[in-house]
Symmetry: C2
């Protein structure tokens, strides 16, 4: 599988990336960015970057969803973060001159803008507002990661999954037509998010359906009793 190079949309009139690291750019800087970027399609399941590889630049998701995963020594996958349109990925390794500590995989067909690191660092050093924005993004990631630590360390699988479902709805939003979460994660992925097996993930979600806390519409999930889900996520059993 090879990613395809496509005609890139201009950064100047792009609405998607407006909350990310580059949100502080305007006019001239935006067109400077646009000039050198590469626009690519990664098909569902394809790697955008791989753990242990050396970063060559920064990615911004134009359309699609991505999971950031780590692999344990015995081969199990852990999803450490999710990313959607407008999010940047691959900046942690880049910023501390490290190899990637995690991989990025397209959860569906995903369009990505790539900025090589020279451009990124040139802009980072020339514009203090970008540093500030970068710091903001990192602190948000750190908060998320530490919440996940607590989630996994202190809760039983049911509570963890309840919390993750609330997080997914918050992060991806809902499809207005039917109220389902705007993302289609497999049970396996949900398991990899909360540190459990696929079977247990399936069982717990089935239970939640049986107890009328959630409903399935095809592959998609709708939360129908958020108070109870929140309650589940807060208590241990």
């Amino acid at each position: 599988m090879e990613s395809k190079a496509l005609k890139a949309p201009s950064c100047s009139n792009c609405a998607t990336c407006s909350q990310g690291i580059f949100s502080v750019f305007k006019g001239a800087e935006l067109s400077r960015l646009s000039e050198k970027k590469v626009f690519q399609l990664y098909k569902k399941g394809q790697y955008i970057f791989k753990e242990k590889a050396e970063p060559k630049g920064l990615f911004c998701i134009h359309d699609g969803n991505v999971k950031i995963t780590k692999e344990s020594e015995d081969g199990k996958e852990q999803i450490v973060r999710l990313a959607k349109a407008g999010n940047f990925i691959g900046y942690r390794a880049l910023l501390c001159n490290d190899i990637y500590q995690a991989s990025a995989v397209a959860l569906e067909d995903t369009y990505v803008c790539f900025y090589n690191k020279e451009i990124y660092f040139e802009l980072l050093y020339s514009n203090p507002a970008i540093a500030a924005q970068t710091i903001k993004v990192l602190t948000r990631d750190l908060r998320f990661a530490e919440n996940m630590m607590l989630n996994m360390a202190q809760k039983h699988v049911k509570g963890r999954i309840a919390e993750i479902l609330l997080m997914l709805e918050e992060f991806y939003g809902v499809y207005e037509k039917d109220g389902t979460i705007n993302a289609t994660l497999k049970r396996e992925d949900i398991g990899h998010l909360v540190g459990t097996t696929t079977e247990t993930s399936i069982r717990v979600i089935s239970e939640l359906v049986k107890d009328h806390l959630i409903e399935l519409k095809g592959k998609r999930i709708m939360l129908i009793n958020k108070e109870k889900i929140l309650e589940l996520s807060n208590r241990k059993n």
Copy 2:
């Protein structure tokens, strides 16, 4: 318990904080920092700051060890990070203008320098190198947090504790005289680091002693078979 205000050591000839956020400062900036800082002793068990409070500034540990903890809704403690002399604490909330998402507790009698946020932000905005240094610290924290996510999500308690012991030795170093880890964490704290109960933490550590992977010298722990410990931390059982 109230923290005591003491005569502060000068930043200008302080060796401890040389790897932290302020490591890029020199001469005039260092004395500017020194002028306004407050030096305090927090006794063992005392809070340096508390979850949900509003940050007033930045702390730098001059001497001692600190745990950063979060509390789950049902009252269980999770240690999300450890800090030692030279480390800064309390910057995450400050940097994103958030309330504290975690508390800081002195693990032993600990001396801390406090810089109010006005000074910190003044220096952060005036000196791009500090922003870069701050970014470096945040990426390191993020890497740690994501490793911990994997540790907790994918491993059994024994493997988690093995990994934490290696981390503790790496982070605190060993006391040359007897080779023990330079920190005295209670079994309870170790449990709170890896998301298990005090009893299980005690049991696992006893097993490790019985299997000659570690040795206890009073309250202190010495790793005597690191290869085996590493192996334990990598496999699941």
